[in-house]
Symmetry: none
Subunit: 135 residues, 2 copies
């Protein structure tokens, strides 16, 4: 085929900021890549990884955690919530904790219930990424 439609990744002068949409897409992609790598580490080396990502702009707490460290994660959030000196993060955490009961659909609620039951399985990795709407 002679004419190629999609030219693929082009050379890029690294400093220049892309447009907002590309930035968001890239962020999501790279974060997915991070989680993928974490997952690989868990699987290949039997590690346990707990990741919290605070994205910018009030919305979007992204959490990756191995089932066996879920108690750690829960304790982490519980510990952090009442602390006054981390207000900037509290809203993220609150948003995350209340997300299942306020903003998300009923389908998601049932889904979370299922996930909650399966959390102690020990054999699965669950990765939940809540999208930031406009970031």
């Amino acid at each position: 085929m002679t004419t190629r439609i999609n030219k693929g990744r082009q050379r890029v002068d690294m400093v220049k900021m892309k447009n907002a949409r590309n930035l968001q897409v890239t962020f999501s992609t790279r974060l997915a890549g991070l989680f993928k790598k974490s997952n690989e580490l868990c699987m290949l080396f039997n590690a346990e990884i707990f990741i919290v990502v605070f994205s910018q702009g009030d919305k979007g707490v992204l959490c990756f955690d191995h089932p066996s460290v879920n108690p750690l994660a829960e304790g982490f959030f519980e510990w952090n919530l009442p602390q006054p000196h981390i207000n900037v993060h509290n809203q993220h955490i609150v948003a995350r904790k209340e997300g299942g009961t306020r903003d998300l659909s009923t389908k998601l609620m049932s889904l979370e219930a299922i996930l909650e039951k399966e959390k102690n399985c020990g054999q699965i990795l669950i990765e939940i990424r809540k999208r930031a709407n406009s970031l």
Copy 2:
């Protein structure tokens, strides 16, 4: 030079376990790569990432955290580890033993199906992964 000494990365049949040394080296390398990518995410997108890694066998907790999340991390470890031993800079904190069940429930299959359907929900993205080996 005709004969090449270092053949570079060879094709590898993915299942085969390398020797212990290679495994350890690879783990360190990949973990460093994970932290590198996390750092890149922090820099490029102004995110805040907090990672806890429990490596296998009681030794080695490796922690990566963005500076702005440092209070969270410190508090987390104080909360999580009553033992006073955060001696090294972030690294090597005694890991806690987490037994956990290991059998894979058959409900996982239906769960996966549900998750698969929910993937296109648009509000949330969920990924589930099973462990490769029997842990």
